[in-house]
Subunit: 410 residues, 4 copies
């Protein structure tokens, strides 16, 4: 009564532990497996290849398991052709829709393997005129042709190119990463940023209000001015505290000793918001001479785009903030083309949101003083994620010392 399927995976299966995770997932989903064949890479440089028969109770379960295994780069040996069905109504996928990974993906349509445009996890695949792109459930329209089941879909693991990050630069998945001296890590990240710029890539920052609270506005603004921040994703809080600090010369009351910013209800922040609302926008406030310094001022002056997306705890918010979170996600997606490196500092909410929409091919560094945040980010999706548990204030200070000629804190 059980159904089965033969799947395969190629890569550095032994030293990455991915095969163990694949087999764990088969069992987790209630299935079982037989390892049909395993060609082991004899040396560290060789790739291995595994062929596994998975068994499970129903075809529905099988389809889900196959999608799950694709997050590890496991494909069906004989994937057949993709099946599409029309979306039953706006905002709803067909029941058995294919749920995407963030890996490079190809779909078998009309005898051809068609690459998926803009890989993003937890989306559907929409087929239009023989092309395939990801679509979030909120954006699907009635009648859209959506790929269903796991048939006809293959994913490709990113190559293991640690070298690109320089010797000694290791990823989160390798336990070695944290044995490195923090000062060395900063230098390696700076090196990586230079390489990305030389290759014409854009650098995406995702930042939280602790950038202001830890006194790192100055190095952050210097990094913006010298071209190291191509686009910024954040929320109402970073921009508000940054602007409050610029307008009122105060930093919000924050108690780092308790491990978290404690906001004391100073009315300055709501007054700062009101001032920008009166100006009409952050850009207008810069143009009017109301806003004269800080991170947001630097972004406007440098002509770099930013996307601020609101949350339910926001006061105000600033006029530039997307209050509709789904529209905010769309605005963030629109900024992703060309991004070659992402750096996330001191924010869990916006970092996870960004991790949700980033393809796995973009290297990602998450920096936070809270180990839980770093672990959560580095575990989400991207095979190229590195986490660093350190102090944001000192981290940005040292990064500015590396990247900004003549940088010196007065």
């Amino acid at each position: 009564m059980q159904v089965s399927e033969t799947v395969e995976i190629t890569g550095h299966l032994m030293d990455s532990g991915v095969l163990a995770r694949v087999l764990d997932d088969v069992l987790d989903y209630g299935g079982d497996y037989t390892i049909e064949r395993l060609d082991v890479g004899k040396t560290h440089e060789d790739e291995s290849h595994a062929r596994i028969i998975v068994l499970i109770d129903s075809d529905e379960d099988l389809q889900r398991l196959l999608m799950r295994l694709q997050t590890h780069g496991v494909n069906q040996v004989d994937p057949g052709a993709a099946v599409t069905k029309p979306a039953p109504t706006d905002g709803v996928f067909p029941e058995d829709f294919y749920s995407t990974t963030n890996l490079e993906t190809v779909v078998r349509l009309g005898g051809q393997w068609v690459p998926v445009e803009h890989p993003e996890m937890d989306c559907g695949l929409r087929v239009v005129n023989g092309r395939v792109h990801t679509v979030p459930v909120s954006d699907v329209k009635e009648g859209d042709q959506i790929v269903c089941g796991a048939g006809g879909v293959k994913v490709v693991l990113p190559p293991r190119e640690h070298k690109a990050l320089g010797d000694g630069f290791e990823f989160m998945s390798s336990i070695a990463s944290s044995e490195k001296p923090q000062a060395l890590l900063v230098r390696q990240i700076a090196e990586r940023m230079r390489e990305v710029k030389i290759d014409g890539g854009r650098i995406l920052w995702v930042a939280g209000p602790a950038v202001v609270h830890t006194g790192a506005s100055m190095p952050m603004a210097a990094l913006v001015e010298h071209g190291w921040v191509d686009v910024l994703f954040s929320g109402n809080a970073l921009a508000t505290h940054d602007i409050e600090s610029a307008l009122f010369g105060t930093s919000l009351g924050v108690d780092l000793a308790h491990g978290a910013g404690v906001e004391h209800g100073h009315e300055h922040h709501i007054r700062a918001i009101n001032a920008i609302r009166a100006a009409g926008s952050i850009r207008a406030a810069v143009d009017d001479g109301v806003l004269k310094s800080g991170v947001m001022h630097a972004m406007v002056t440098a002509g770099r785009p930013f996307v601020l997306v609101g949350s339910v705890r926001d006061d105000g918010p600033l006029p530039d903030v997307y209050t509709d979170v789904i529209e905010g996600q769309r605005a963030m997606r629109a900024q992703l083309p060309g991004v070659g490196f992402a750096i996330m500092v001191a924010t869990m909410l916006h970092s996870i949101a960004t991790g949700n929409i980033l393809p796995a091919s973009v290297p990602l560094v998450a920096v936070d003083i809270n180990p839980a945040t770093v672990t959560k980010l580095a575990d989400r999706g991207s095979a190229q994620a590195m986490g660093i548990v350190t102090d944001i204030g000192l981290f940005l200070e040292q990064l500015a010392l590396e990247l900004v000629p003549g940088y010196h804190r007065d």
Copy 2:
């Protein structure tokens, strides 16, 4: 050139430490003070009364300082009458608007002290037909009469009524709270909840997805069924994981050992969202027999309202989720009347959002395994906040044992 004002405060100034905080704030704002008079409560039962002259550089700074001091219950001795000015445009307050506290407040209008309706922090005060209510900056309309400056406004500290919570029940502000046995604290919270219900009050819960992850869906649903949850504030995550668990019999992959829920991208959650979107709403999914168990099922069946407000990291979201966070705040505000007790478990984002709109007069208990979350909540505004650092799963289990007759986990 300095301006000054005489202010006063009455209460248990000595044993609460409030006077120290008042004087700290005067210095923090760049001012100085002279204690003109201090009548000390001779015994523990007596209130003290202080009269303080504050000096500061400009009238603008003075107004801000006076507003700041009102968060501690400090009023001007001679507040005069309130001044109102029209809002210059939609969504913008006059520049020198009075920024509210969450304390009970009265405004001097036309020779009378008028109470402010629905106290909420970080709002403006709108005067309509001789009545005064709080208005958030996003809701103000051009021409609305808004109170400006600190003149003509007085606040009232909530009475110190520890007794109401039973012997041994202590508030966060008192360091004694945490010396209490956890098991005793649960019993005292249960007792308090019974009292609130007897008094006709409603009990507000704010909950995060860890309720599902720690296996506490069952006690939480039991509490709902027996009438201990009158209204629930949450986000897309709690509802999605609860529904995913009900539909697929799986709990999302969560690694508590790392101190945080780590989501592993199981596609089940996006499939669960799609199923509810197909049904049209959570209620419709219950009515159609699609959703048959869990916390959200219990809320619908018990006919209790819930407000789900989205965030930028959401997948989907569920059709019941407010994607516009400002509309979500409005929906939350609409549920506050009658609330006599608030309990916040395992969520920072929605708990802070709720703390932002709750009047200080509503007692509030924040429960989380992360001390930073508890500290952040208990420090925000409410004079009646208590924080408990404990395990959500065991906490809800024990609360159900106290409040639900015959409750037993199978």
Copy 3:
């Protein structure tokens, strides 16, 4: 110029990820490998077997790498016979001594495989009259015959016997552990404790002062009285706060909201210590009627042994406390025979100390509200370690409810 050795490992290599860790370690130590042969367990039930050639620069490096790999259960295919050398002086091993794991180990001596008595990690192997036992460096005597190099030594991985812990009981190494409801975990631990007692095993507890601070003295004492605590390892702090609470009716000032016990210098604890010093010992204080309740009183009354080992931060200490930590370790080792289960609550120092001397064959549960402590313990050595991040007060309360007939908190 490189030297090489062929090693092998048998077990559930695929789904446990151990092979990946083995290969990582080869690279970490500067070596390289060729996988000569890999017989994969075709199904979940079958064991796999791997044969790997490791290459490295020098014989000295090779010996170290081979010892390292033994911590994963990897043995040489042809280990040869053990070599022993005399210890050069008291308290010093020969330079190339074999450094032990905590796994079951056998040594090839005179053509026979001799089992090592009392496996313990980071020790040497002393051969006396054809028998082999572990010896810590502090206890070795000049001239003792000590096994040197990795030759002639094999280790045996404990069998994967999850079943013994009951259905649903999962180990730390499996990420599934934390998806379980906390209330269910408590029940499973109780079940395991019953099984251990039925099998004639002793239950070892390692506990910190938070047992007292969280109000869990009562359930802990009840567990002692009903025979669930056969031996207790702790320090001066637990015993002092327990006795202080019994003598003065106070609990030490502790601020759990800040995530850690904050001691406020109440002089009660030093006075309690003085009272016991005056009596001569904890037992004498019980006999004299000075100490009448609490955990230590229960231990004495039940006739169960305890080992208290001091630390540099201790006041006093109590007369029962070993002030010499090496003597303290010896006293702890002397209590290990017969221990079939170890439970560690709310202490990092003494839990790590115990983990250092426990053989890998003893199942171990570490319970703490701090995820870092739990991770650190569960990662140290024992293949049978499980970590639970939860509240100590509620955990012990629920465990007493499970194990102590008629237990009810008044």
Copy 4:
């Protein structure tokens, strides 16, 4: 039936919140109070003076309460003369012994106020030939004359001399401390260290193994070489990992992402210990050319003393380690004279131990990435404690940049 006593306190009672804490303690100890008189400092510069009558049930309780209040600087208006009694036996105080604070203290003997030598908390006061010094309970001898009860003892609060630390330098007790930029804090600590050296004071460091794990051995060694470390307190772990790193070129496997060093049982550390044991001592290993770099090498070469005190979790230990913790405490005490500044990095155990024996007059900075550690240290005793939550690696790197001419990490 109640007994009462009139006490007084002088200082900046209002803005420090100390009066609130005094009154809280009276109630905590089961007493009650009447504020007889309160002369308020009219301005920020003026001191206040309070006179309070405390009431409590028995004289025994009164004596304890009076001792407790002395930790806040509260003295009896009429303390009378001190009473001494002989210690009943070695290592035991008379039952009603006076338990010390770490404040400057004077004792009324024979009509004169005699200053206490070497203030230290939780000790007794021994009178010998008209002089008074602190004695820990472990060192008292039978027949020693020990001060009993609170009579005849007065304490003196340290003056509030924030200025000495430079503008902007704030103490832990002030919430303002954490609003400062981290980079600025490092500079201020460096400034303070220069001042202490100019005044002829010694700088005491207390450090944990994370100094090595975070790659900060190089800046720490540079600070030693340039005279910024006069004495070092630590345990077996820092020295062992430092030496292991010097001997084997490896850093111990540490997983910072999990918020704590996770030791993976590399045998290198036990081999490093054995090598030093073979040499006889760390100094001998330096002299023999075995140990050529690292922090301990720098200490030996610079001729600076260090005190290493063991703990129950130690392997080995190194021959320099005190295995008897009480003897270790004595060795630490012997190094305190002349210490003018204490800096504690990345260790809770040894930092608390040091805090226990330091007089309140020595300024103390505690640095750790874990907020709980910093809070615990800063809350213990010293009125001059400042806590900084930051990354040890980057902190020491920046401190070396400030203090070591030409310091540059290669």
